[in-house]
Symmetry: C2
Subunit: 192 residues, 2 copies
């Protein structure tokens, strides 16, 4: 997605260790016009009319998923929680996930009543690196018996293994920008 | 907002101790069509053309703020973080806030570069009870020198003190549904 790549080049910041920060438009301040274009692009890449739910994970995925849902006939958005929340009760789908960046284990949780075998689910997240959170969300879809339409990612770090691994498994993974390398502060994208 | 009140009566769950749960449409599964109506209502109640930013707090506020921003000419949304995040660097506005429900202190944090004296800010959140989180967000607006246009809340617990206290201070607080009491499972709303 050319608009997104240009925005990453313009406003993304490369920090020590090749960390790419996009908090100026994606995960702290959100540019709503850009999110609308991202939502349209996800619809173009996932045209399946049976998609009726979008699953994401708190916190950064929520805004992207909410705007995107509007291009999926206002599909319901379910956002998984990372911690036991007072907003969650009843039976839960629960998957333990290891965060590479924080070096800790957390639980991805979704109330069972919001996902079942009658649903067709698009999983959305802002970043894909090692893919642990995304695999956790996919495991929840599997547990629920819902159909997985695919996974839509805004920015994939192509130099880490998560995306490649999922594609090898046959997952319909669509990343709107794949960063192949960050070297000496220079960001290189994979060709579409 | 009649549509919202009807939805709370229809799908809200009253738990022990008078806890109102709206995870079926607001803060776990999100009904995007309802959020659009909520966004339109916030616009109606905050018509000031100078509003250029919406400030909220992770996680439940994000989806509401993102959809609402569309009715404010796609105003930027900034969501405060509750924990030190790798997505945050540079100088921060930081306010300590006590959570009554979790009984713990946390820090509300916003990067200084996303809020300053040139901004006119609408603060949005899903719930208002004691008002600690909301006061933290307002304190960040104050620190930034931005103008506070007002605070928009989806559901206020009118039997707790947060809203009354803020109105006495002259804050332009607009709550789309004010719950005056929850007794024996019966929800009573304040008249508009």
């Amino acid at each position: 997605m050319e608009l997104l790549k240009q925005r990453i080049l313009q406003d993304g910041k490369v920090k020590e260790g090749g960390v790419l920060k996009v908090d100026s438009f994606l995960n702290h301040r959100m540019d709503i016009s850009l999110l609308q274009e991202i939502g349209k692009e996800f619809r173009r890449r996932f045209p399946q009319p049976e998609i009726n739910k979008i699953l994401t994970i708190e916190a950064s995925g929520i805004g992207i998923a909410a705007i995107t849902a509007q291009y999926f006939n206002n599909a319901d958005v379910v956002f998984a929680k990372k911690t036991k929340s007072k907003n969650l009760d009843g039976e839960l789908y629960t998957v333990p996930v290891r965060s590479y960046t924080r070096g800790e284990l957390f639980e991805v949780q979704v109330a069972k009543r919001y996902l079942d075998e009658n649903d067709c689910v698009l999983v959305i997240d802002d970043f894909l690196a090692h893919g642990q959170a995304l695999k956790g969300l996919m495991e929840i879809v599997r547990q629920s018996g819902a159909k997985l339409a695919g996974c839509g990612i805004v920015i994939e770090k192509g130099f880490q293994s998560g995306g490649e691994h999922l594609r090898e498994q046959g997952v319909n993974l669509q990343s709107l920008a794949i960063v192949d390398s960050i070297e000496d502060g220079v960001i290189t994208f994979r060709k579409d």
